[in-house]
């Protein structure tokens, strides 16, 4: 009686067997042009995206079953804005009370800026560097954030400590501004010294430990003799009515560990090059003071933001491989302090001298306009290929994301733009934006 019941049951058991786990969404893109990186393009190529990364790029790929197929004219890497305040709570964006430990991630407000983030995403910016502090002299830890939301609705922060932001020369006369530059150099020096102290300490304590070990071995050997001579000395001291002074050995003094200083620790990271330092400076006086002062730090990674009057120092910038983030915005007669000499041809002029040029939105939340500003810069002399590089590979490289962003290559994060024309052209429209392997924006609506 049980058997037929079981038999009746059996098909339902097998029907209830768990099916294969749902495949991760695969996206297969067919494009007339795949811009792997500025200067390297593939014609009639395909890109396979899976699991948030680009799996393969080639000219003879075939769409796997179940993959979503998209066709487009041009594919390029998502744009990056290295100098933005998008997503920051408005009061924090202009906070002046910052120090090197203030973190931009603590002030991110995805809900308040949802509309602007969406607008930036639709304009093609998939990631950006954000720091708070406005024009404060030390702005703190900047973060690298993605414009598309995280799966759980919050902001997708790729790097909580992407760079340190600073400003030199936002106010004061020439001597004041040089003073600010020198102060910054002093901080970096303090950081470097702190690191040197730490390294010296580790050497010293290691040495001390070996010496103690050796002395102990020696003492063990001559214990009796040493004890006898010590007793004799004590007795002599008692007889002479003198206080017996213990002999102090150098080994007893343990090398003191340098006191932990969080700020100096952060500056040390800057001095040794693990954290890039993005300094906003516009006028020649402070730029030159800054470059002179930081010459001694050979591992410091400096990035200049703004650089309105930096052209005369182009040779130094090239030699030390210092990139410049240019803000090619049209300004009328009312200009912010330091930008009186602002010229739209700065980006082109710098690029011509082989300076690494990046394009940013000037520390405003106008990130969505970056492609427009890039086009304006191209219109004033920047080569289109260099403009695209500024928006992708160079920006990724400067903010330590060069191995996962900025190119359409296997293994890189899938932040891609699908366009119907040249990426820098203003009449091109972006059809789809893929962020972390998912379609974050589709001009046709829906996914």
């Amino acid at each position: 009686m049980l058997a037929p019941a079981l038999l009746a049951w059996a098909p339902t058991i097998s029907a209830q067997e768990p099916a294969d786990p749902p495949a991760e969404t695969q996206i297969f893109i067919k494009a007339e042009r795949v811009i792997v990186q500025p200067g390297k393009e593939l014609k009639d190529a395909q890109v396979l995206v899976q699991g948030g990364k680009v799996l393969a790029v080639g000219t003879d790929l075939v769409a796997p079953d179940g993959a979503k197929v998209l066709e487009t004219k041009v594919v390029c890497a998502g744009f990056i804005d290295p100098w933005s305040t998008l997503g920051l709570d408005s009061a924090s964006a202009s906070l002046r009370d910052t120090n090197i430990l203030t973190r931009a991630v603590d002030a991110l407000n995805p809900f308040g800026s949802a509309v602007h983030l969406q607008a930036a995403l639709r304009a093609g910016i998939t990631g950006y560097g954000v720091a708070l502090g406005g024009k404060a002299s030390v702005k703190g830890l900047g973060a690298f954030v993605c414009t598309a939301n995280h799966a759980d609705g919050g902001l997708d922060v790729l790097l909580k400590d992407s760079f340190i932001g600073a400003t030199v020369g936002s106010s004061g006369d020439a001597f004041d501004r040089i003073g600010y530059a020198e102060r910054l150099v002093k901080y970096i020096k303090a950081g470097e010294d702190y690191r040197v102290e730490q390294v010296e300490y580790t050497h010293e304590i290691a040495k001390w430990r070996t010496e103690i070990a050796e002395s102990e071995v020696k003492l063990e050997k001559d214990f009796k003799k040493a004890k006898k001579s010590r007793d004799k000395e004590i007795k002599e001291a008692e007889e002479d009515n003198k206080k017996f002074k213990e002999e102090s050995y150098r080994e007893d003094r343990q090398p003191r560990k340098p006191r932990f200083d969080a700020e100096k620790e952060a500056w040390a990271r800057v001095a040794e090059g693990t954290l890039p330092l993005v300094v906003e400076a516009h006028r020649y006086v402070e730029l030159s003071a800054l470059l002179d002062g930081t010459k001694a730090f050979d591992r410091l990674r400096l990035v200049i933001a703004g650089g309105t009057e930096v052209l005369p120092l182009a040779a130094t910038l090239v030699k030390r491989s210092i990139p410049v983030i240019v803000w090619p915005t049209p300004l009328g007669s009312k200009r912010p302090a330091g930008m009186r000499a602002h010229d739209l041809s700065l980006a082109g002029a710098l690029a011509e001298k082989d300076v690494r040029v990046l394009l940013g939105s000037g520390g405003t939340s106008g990130t969505r306009d970056l492609p427009l500003l890039a086009a304006l810069a191209v219109g004033h002399g920047l080569e289109p290929e260099k403009a695209l590089a500024a928006l992708t590979t160079e920006a990724a490289r400067a903010l330590d994301m060069g191995s996962i962003l900025g190119k359409v290559r296997a293994g890189y994060r899938a932040d891609l733009l699908l366009l119907d024309g040249d990426p820098i052209s203003t009449t091109t429209s972006i059809r789809q934006v893929i962020s972390a392997g998912k379609i974050a924006f589709n001009v046709e609506g829906g996914q």
């Binding site: 915005t329 009328g332 007669s333 939340s365």
Partner: protein, 358 residues
């Protein structure tokens, strides 16, 4: 040979003035009926005599072949460059007899920025602060006055109110205007007889009142300053008014350019202004591009920058039509591409900006 002689001759032409005729040929000429491939323009005495693809060279004509796109210069609707302190007279609320033309300063440094951005005509407007600020004027940057009295500037926003001076309210302001329209004198008398009306407002409700006022008195002109004027499209169409949009900045509400696209779809004449603050004239093209990205048709955007703006400005500017003054710009590419820059600018046939090396 032509290429070598051309620069010298064009320089001579620039020096000697308007004698002789000049033929400019460019890859694309944006004429009044659309783009012309390998188009040519014949200019004589500073005016356009002919425009087309296969124009024949007259005997005294010099041909200059240019690389790039040739188009009419852009028209900026709403600016106070050069006016300095003259943009507003705060002694009276109604200054219908005041002409902004008297405050025009040809020698102001700010005009250079306009030429660099390819703008060859500017509508001067008063600063908001009075109910009727004066009569607007159309000028060429650092050049001639095209139209002494284009519109009467009437302010329907609360910027017109000053403490302690009548009117202090919207109903009071409208009543005061209606009083003046009952027995029109001065500037009011010219409304409808060649003088248009420029209705300045900020909010949509103010815009509605302004448009209703224009409809009541059968006035022609435009509404300026209302960012989301698309919501008033039906009333604007009914009243036959145009719209001048304030500059659309980086942080603009996305409904603003979408609203401009609505206006374009409903065929309402559109133009862009630079606003009361001193903005860079590049803001004109950028505002137009933002609207295009939100759905404004390409033709409508181009018209808004050139011929449409000229129509709203009541002045013969913004178009390369035969008989018009030769105010032209040579762009390195498509003018609606921000990657194209201004290479040369001519005003009335004379080159006023750009190098001669081509």
């Amino acid at each position: 040979m032509n290429i070598l002689i051309a620069p010298i001759l064009s320089a001579l032409c620039a020096v000697s003035g308007d004698t002789g005729s000049l033929v400019l040929q460019a890859e694309v000429v944006h004429g009044p009926d659309g783009p012309i491939e390998k188009g040519r323009i014949l200019i004589r005495d500073g005016k356009i005599e002919a425009i087309g693809a296969g124009l024949e060279l007259p005997e005294d004509g010099h041909l200059i072949e240019l690389e790039g796109h040739l188009s009419a210069g852009l028209v900026a609707m709403g600016d106070q460059t050069g006016l300095k302190g003259e943009a507003l007279d705060s002694t009276r609320q109604i200054m219908d007899g005041a002409d902004l033309a008297f405050g025009y300063d040809k020698t102001d440094d700010g005009w250079g920025a306009f030429l660099e951005a390819g703008v060859t005509a500017v509508l001067l407007t008063p600063k908001p602060g009075a109910l009727v600020g004066g009569r607007t004027a159309v000028v060429k940057p650092a050049g001639a006055m095209v139209q002494r009295r284009a519109h009467l500037h009437v302010c329907f926003s609360n910027a017109a109110f000053k403490p302690g001076v009548a009117p202090t309210s919207y109903p009071g302001a409208i009543s005061m205007l209606e009083q003046r329209m009952k027995t029109p004198t001065g500037g009011f008398a010219l409304l409808g007889k060649g003088l248009g009306v420029l209705l300045a407002a900020k909010t949509r409700a103010e815009g509605l009142r302004a448009v209703a006022f224009a409809k009541r008195h059968d006035l022609t002109g435009a509404l300026t300053g209302v960012s989301r004027a698309g919501d008033l499209a039906d009333e604007l169409h009914d009243a036959g008014l145009g719209v001048i949009l304030p500059p659309i900045g980086a942080a603009a509400d996305p409904r603003v350019p979408a609203s401009a696209a609505t206006l374009g779809k409903k065929d309402i004449p559109l133009a862009f202004s630079l606003g009361a603050t001193n903005r860079s004239p590049h803001a004109l093209r950028i505002s137009a591009l933002r609207c295009m990205k939100a759905g404004l048709a390409r033709d409508a955007a181009w018209k808004a920058l050139t011929s449409g703006a000229g129509e709203i400005a009541n002045a013969p500017v913004g178009s390369l039509a035969v008989g018009r003054a030769a105010d032209m710009v040579l762009w390195s590419g498509d003018p609606l591409e921000l990657t194209s820059q201004v290479e040369r600018v001519w005003i009335e046939g004379k080159q006023v900006h750009g190098d001669d090396d081509q």
